[in-house]
Amino acid sequence: MTTNDHAHHEGESYFDGPPGILAKVWQWMSTVDHKKIGIMYLVAVLIMFFLGGVSALVVRYELLDPVRTVETLNEAGELVQHTTGQRLAPLVDIMGAQNANEVYNRFFTLHGALMVFMFIIPSIPASMGNFFLPIMLGAKDVAFPRLNLLSWYIYVIGCLFGVLSILMGGVDTGWTFYTPYSTTTDADHWRVILMILAAFILGFSSILTGMNFVVTVHKLRAPGMGWFDMPLFIWGIYATAVIQVLATPVIGITLLLLVFERVMRIGIFDPSMGGDPVLYQHFFWFYSHPVVYVMILPGMAIISEVISVHSRKHIFGYRAIAFSSLGIAAVSFLVWGHHIFTAMGELAAILFSGLTFLVAIPTAIKVFNWIATLYKGSIALNTPMLYALVFLFTFSIGGLTGLPLATLATDIHLHDTYYVVAHFHYVMMGGTVMAFMAGLHHWWPKMFGKMYNERAAMLGCVIVFIGFNITFFTQFFLGTQGMPRRYANYVDEFQTLHIISTYGSWLLLLGFLIHLGTFVASLIAGDKATANPWGGLTLEWETSSPPIEHNFHHEPVVTHGPYDYETIVPPHWDPKDFPLPENPSSH
């Protein structure tokens, strides 16, 4: 830890930065404080979430009606013909596209690429993970603070590559970059390569953050904190970090091969040069399936904390939740084939189907544990808890609707339809984003030292919940009835469901705008937060809100478990408000 102190002093005393506001900016841009880096990540991922959200709204807007050719007589009695239903046609020239469909294709690609690579993968681990992992361990910082800052810069450079590609017109490959389409589309443009490189660069940020967290968890736990005394948030982030370190290099190599293929025509994936296009899908999903758990495990980690703190109960089945996180991380490497059942041999499909069911079991166990934790609790219905309950609702639907996708006979009907779109939005948005919102409201007072307006935040939560379900529940029916994914246009019978879905997306926008307003109002005029507004027992609640630069005045010594609400009075907390149970059970 002495080297860290040294680094801090160096940053402050040896460099005289520019004066005034620039000094402030420089202070942030050169900080090695994990809390500031966490907040910088938070701002960056929220910007990307906004951009990805806007492109989703554009996609939904185009889908309000199908394309029709209409013939009418004009005033002079001449037959005139015009096309309706191409709502993105005005953007064709601006984006340098050939037609309205290409504009649509670019927007759904942007939505996928921004949301996956730039928002959801770094969202929870890099923002809240960075801020709270060291504090919850009782450490002053992560193991490698400068590497941590570097990973933020790498993330920003990756995002800039992506944004540059968008400014050059965007790409229409789909976020999965399937070959040979991705190696042949827009052959004379650099923007596809820029987007691929963006994902490649972002991967390094992911690897460095993951490695930093693994080392921090192994080496920097406070005295008295054994592995099974760690809060479950740490377990979740730890499992995530392991996947990031092991899986991300594979996508790095794959994306580089893709760039070589495009630039030098080396013929690894393109069949016209002797390559195999399905090989790319195997490489891609070997990374991208484990990464699904990089997206959801941190969300699950937040839910474990939020449910326990706000119902004042010891989490039910601590070890089961901890081991299921590691179990999911391990099995996640063996199930990539279920993304390509329709492009592989029968035997492989059967094996991957069986393995896929395996990964569902630890997830189910976690849900049972969370609900069991509520039993006999003292449940506060505030925004973090409300979002945790929304998570349990939507994530359960997401998980259960995955069963027909793991089942081979039904998957080859549902594969690549809106059913899949609905399923993974229930898991990614209904799971990770809802957990992200739960965590953000749970830790907001700690991160910024300000309270927010509880009623406004709860209103936002209810509107997001309703809007989300209207938008995506309809899409299950679109999929089972025969609507394929990534269609700019569709046959008439799907229009009603598409209209409902689009209206839902506007409600979602309203909900998130309310949250934005709540947070801005909190920063400007929020009441000062106490050190422990929720009565939590993990270490971050022992320090002030926001925490001091070195997190704690003295290195904390851990003497109780993170969820011992039945026997321990939370720090900075009046026991009158939270009486202990009269007969603490002994277990």
């Binding site: 009418t72 390509i340 509520l374």
Partner: protein, 395 residues
Amino acid sequence: MSTPTLASANMSFFQKIIFGDHAASEAGAWSDGLFMMITWFSIVCFVILMTLMVYWVIKYRRRPGVAAQPSPSHNLNLEILWTVVPSASMLVMFVLGFRGYAMKMVSPENAMELKVDAWKWAWKVTYPNGASSPEVSFLSYKDNMAQLEAGETDTYFKSTGLEYPVFYVPEDTSVRLRMHSQDVIHSFWIPEFRTKMDVIPNRYTGFGFHTPKLKSSDTYLDAASMTQVSGRDMWIFCAEYCGDEHSRMAATLRVVPQEVFDAKVKDWGTPKDPIELGKSLYKTMCKICHSIDGSPLIGPTWASGNGFGFGYEAALSDGSSAMRDDNYMRESILDPNAKVVSGFVPSMPAFQSQLSETDIEGLIEYMKFLSDQNSDGSKKDKQNQQADDTAGSDG
């Protein structure tokens, strides 16, 4: 747990909401039954979980001064129970899913083999006698002719969706597909058979299905006679993203009585007037990228004027120019990237093995028919030019 029953006989209201229509094959109906079984299992699990959650949240809501009651933080028996029960249920789903998959994938030995070719952005189905279907139909068609004639309105209105090819198959027949792609990966999906398979450039893929027996209620509107005749239309969609016109890469699969099918296939197999042949090939294969009214699509228009059309000089992207004569057209069909017209991107797949000599000649004859100039750039005489008078020429 019982195996799912054949659903097509008694489709529940709930199932109708989910799938919209009956599965067209026994294998499809079987997998619908499996889907319903999993869905009911999921609904029961979901309702139990949410009931407990909501009940406990209300019952144990926070009250001032009231502490949470002590309760165990783990229970081995309970945890074993809720691990074993889902595992066993999923084993059942896996086995049934495997069985249904086998039903969909294994096609009978005496099945009729159809060759499916895919490219950006069309499907082509070739029948065992080498013929393919020239027919197309509109996605949706509405006009107010009836109201106009009845005097209810005085403005004419017609709305059409896009035009798609129609492929025919006989009823109550086993069909096997042998599929191949010319360029990128596509996916051949017939929702009513509940099966799809990727169509890949470097290998054959395929699946089989058994077409349904037609019921008396199965009819479609025959375009030629404007009457309802016996048959059942189903959608074919491309399910793997393949570019700009991915969402237009659809077709209709029409199940018809055996004798209708035999007559159609025989008719398509017999030689035709080259221009007629070219026109039907254009509609099914070329129309998605090339217009015949001068409007710019993904590829150059075939209408003459403004530097386009047969018999006009083509300005090429490398700065040179070439006369659009018979040989130019032939090369552009078989090796489209050899000469790319300025302002267009090289995106057309090669049709080297796709078209017979007769087909190529038919297409070129049709292009000649559309143009007002001969292959040497001279004007056609008036007689042949009737078709283009309204389109206008640059004189």
